[in-house]
């Protein structure tokens, strides 16, 4: 059974899939060696360290956590690279099953994927009772997400899934400004990329700003989910380019190539727009999420209600059913 490490009382974290997001969350879990980290992932180092002082982190790691194990079944060198950022201390595992042995938390990273393998990747650890932080999207199918919750509960543990966009404080501040234009009737969310991960971010933005309680989903477009309409009791959110092609973003001083979202809200009192919420700002949310993951590891209780985590997955299921059928799919009918 997994327990919090007695020697240093730090929560031992096992990371599955050492993609960009693994490198992204890693410095919030435990401070790496800046030089080695830069070598392991220049892009993440770019955002997490001061431009003028590349050894000084912009965001401190959450206290009391350390990366104990890393694993990547597709490319072992990615796991080795991440381990190297911590001077080779985190053990590079050979098997999926090994990652969840002797750790207090498993993090399944997913930078830009579809979530199809999350259940498979989470199952070995969950049956051992290890809490799991699962990157977005929670799962490709709602039944997979529900299954992960069920397995966790059967084994006395818990799972959490959180999009950065659900916890970025800039959107929280923007939400308070909606009172200035109330009642809000339309939320406009242009999407950034074609993956389900990006769509999950957009749905999390809607959840962040309009709250839970999406009633129904409509979907249309020549390409799958070009446009999603999420209906709430008094308003709607339009997710534009929900799974469309990634816009071209040439890197230049004025047209930089970071991932980012600009959201607009329209209401009876006018219009308000977010600043560009992008890679420079996401770490503010990352800190909050890692703190929640720490709480998850300590309590084995979900820090976020499961229904909150499941709502975006239900929206995705509803969108699948609704797309180009010409009908609105109620979330309560999604099972």
């Amino acid at each position: 059974m997994a327990i919090v490490s007695r020697s240093d009382s730090a929560i031992r974290v096992g990371i599955i899939r050492c993609d960009t997001h693994a490198h992204w969350y890693a410095p919030l879990i435990e401070k790496p060696d800046p030089q080695r980290y830069r070598k392991a992932h220049r892009g993440c180092h770019y955002y997490f360290y001061e431009p003028s002082a590349p050894h000084r982190p912009r965001f401190p790691a959450v206290r009391g956590m350390r990366i104990a194990k890393v694993f990547d079944e597709e490319d072992r060198t990615r796991a080795e690279g991440l381990s190297e950022a911590y001077c080779g201390r985190p053990k590079v595992c050979h098997t999926l099953d090994e990652v969840s042995d002797g750790v207090d938390l498993v993090y399944i990273a997913d930078c830009n994927g579809e979530g199809e393998d999350h259940l498979r990747l989470a199952r070995p650890g969950l049956v051992k009772g290890v809490p799991h932080f699962i990157d977005k999207p929670f799962a490709y199918r709602l039944k997979d997400a529900r299954r992960m919750i069920a397995i966790a509960e059967e084994h006395g543990t818990a799972v959490m899934c959180a999009s950065l966009l659900r916890y970025v404080p800039h959107l929280a501040r923007f939400r308070t400004s909606l009172a200035n234009i109330a009642p809000v009737h339309s939320l406009f969310i242009p999407n950034y990329g074609p993956s389900l991960a990006c769509l999950f971010h957009c749905l999390s933005i809607a959840q962040h700003l309009l709250g839970e309680g999406c009633k129904s989903v409509e979907s249309m477009g020549t390409e799958y989910c070009d446009l999603l309409r999420l209906r709430y009791r008094r308003s709607h959110a339009l997710v534009f380019g929900a799974r469309g092609t990634e816009p071209k973003r040439p890197a230049a001083a004025a047209q930089y190539g970071h991932s980012g979202y600009c959201v607009s809200a329209y209401g009876a009192g006018g219009d308000v727009h977010t600043p560009r919420i992008d890679d420079y700002l996401y770490p503010h949310a990352g800190v909050r999420i890692v703190k929640m993951a720490r709480q998850l590891a300590l309590t084995k209780k979900p820090p976020i209600p499961y229904e909150t985590m499941l709502e975006p997955v239900k929206m995705i299921e509803a969108a699948r059913l609704a797309h180009n059928t010409g009908r609105r799919v109620d979330l309560e009918d999604v099972r």
Partner: protein
């Protein structure tokens, strides 16, 4: 002085009459207080908006004679209330068909007598309910050498033109968005025409459209083809019924780099687009030509008709090529 016959005695007709400085302010205030409010600002009795000079509404007509009588009293010089659609076209230099909230299906019958008589004619948005009817109106106009213009005031907004001039900042606009001001057919036409003028003109023609929502055209997704076979540009139009401040419409352009948001094209600004209509009508009388090509006249109707067919349909419906 250009003599104008006005068809349709509604608030829209009053709005255009105000933009020709034809109304007694107090009467206008009584009949259309909101429009009066937006044209006077806070301490004025007289309207403060620019108006088209040299025009006089000499005749008005509405199938509802009482409506015609009611607005006739608001004019500085009372126009003749025509007894028939034919009479309003007699002894005038131009005709203006005002539409407050209709879908354009009445327009062919209302415009036909004037067009047959070769009278320069403005038909408020939308030109017609179907492309077939719109083409028939154009043929009638051409046969009788009657210059025909139809557009929304949103197409003529100088503020929209200035917003469009900023697109260069994006390098390349990949997507557009228009948040319209309502779900009535005329309001839908306002949003569609703004979308076309911002995102289709100078880029490529609208090729397909989807529609979803509680009623046709509530949420529209338009695809425009690049002129030289490049990437298509998607334009989302939100016509959900809702209250906007001062009847505002907004637009947003997205591409590489931060998006561009328009100012609110609201009731304070919209008269600047509206005044371009009587001015254009005045020019049509002078030159005998319409300032808009047949394709531009038909295109909004083509988009809206296709969207009606596309509504809640399994896939996008092609927009007939009007160009």
């Amino acid at each position: 002085m250009i003599r104008v016959g006005m068809i349709g005695c509604n608030r829209r007709a009053l709005w255009y009459a105000a933009l020709m400085n034809e109304l007694v302010p107090e009467e206008y205030a009584a009949l259309a207080p909101a429009s009066y409010h937006h044209m006077t600002y806070y301490q004025h009795v007289e309207l403060q908006v620019a108006y088209a000079r040299g025009m006089r509404v000499t005749k008005i007509y509405d199938p509802d004679a009482r409506a015609a009588e009611r607005i006739a009293a608001a004019f500085r010089k009372r126009p003749t209330v025509a007894a028939s659609i034919h009479e309003v076209n007699e002894d005038v230099d131009a005709v203006l068909v005002a539409n407050e909230d209709g879908d354009g299906s009445a327009h062919p019958a209302l415009a036909a007598p004037g067009l047959r008589g070769g009278v320069p004619t403005f038909v408020d948005r939308p030109l017609a309910a179907t492309v077939k009817e719109a083409r028939a109106m154009l043929r009638l106009a051409q046969r009788n050498k009657a210059p025909l213009l139809s557009c929304s005031h949103t197409r003529m907004l100088p503020h929209a033109a200035r917003f469009r001039a900023r697109f260069e900042e994006l390098g390349h606009v990949e997507r557009g968005f228009v948040c319209g001001h309502g779900a009535q057919p005329a309001q839908i036409a306002d949003a569609v025409e703004l979308a076309l003028s911002l995102f289709a003109e100078g880029f490529g023609r609208p090729v397909s459209v989807c529609s979803m929502g509680a009623q046709p055209c509530e949420v529209m997704l338009l695809e425009c083809a690049a002129a030289r076979g490049g990437a298509k540009r998607q334009v989302l139009i939100d016509n959900t019924p809702h209250e906007t401040p001062r009847n505002a419409i907004w637009a947003k352009a997205m591409g590489a780099g931060p998006p561009l948001d328009s100012p609110a094209f609201d009731a304070f600004l919209q008269p600047e687009g509206g005044v371009a209509v009587p001015k254009a009508l005045r020019e049509m009388v002078r030159t005998g030509r319409s300032p808009m090509s047949p394709a531009r006249l038909i295109e909004p109707t083509a988009v809206i008709e296709a969207a009606r067919h596309a509504h809640n349909a399994p896939r996008a419906v092609p927009v007939p090529n009007a160009r």
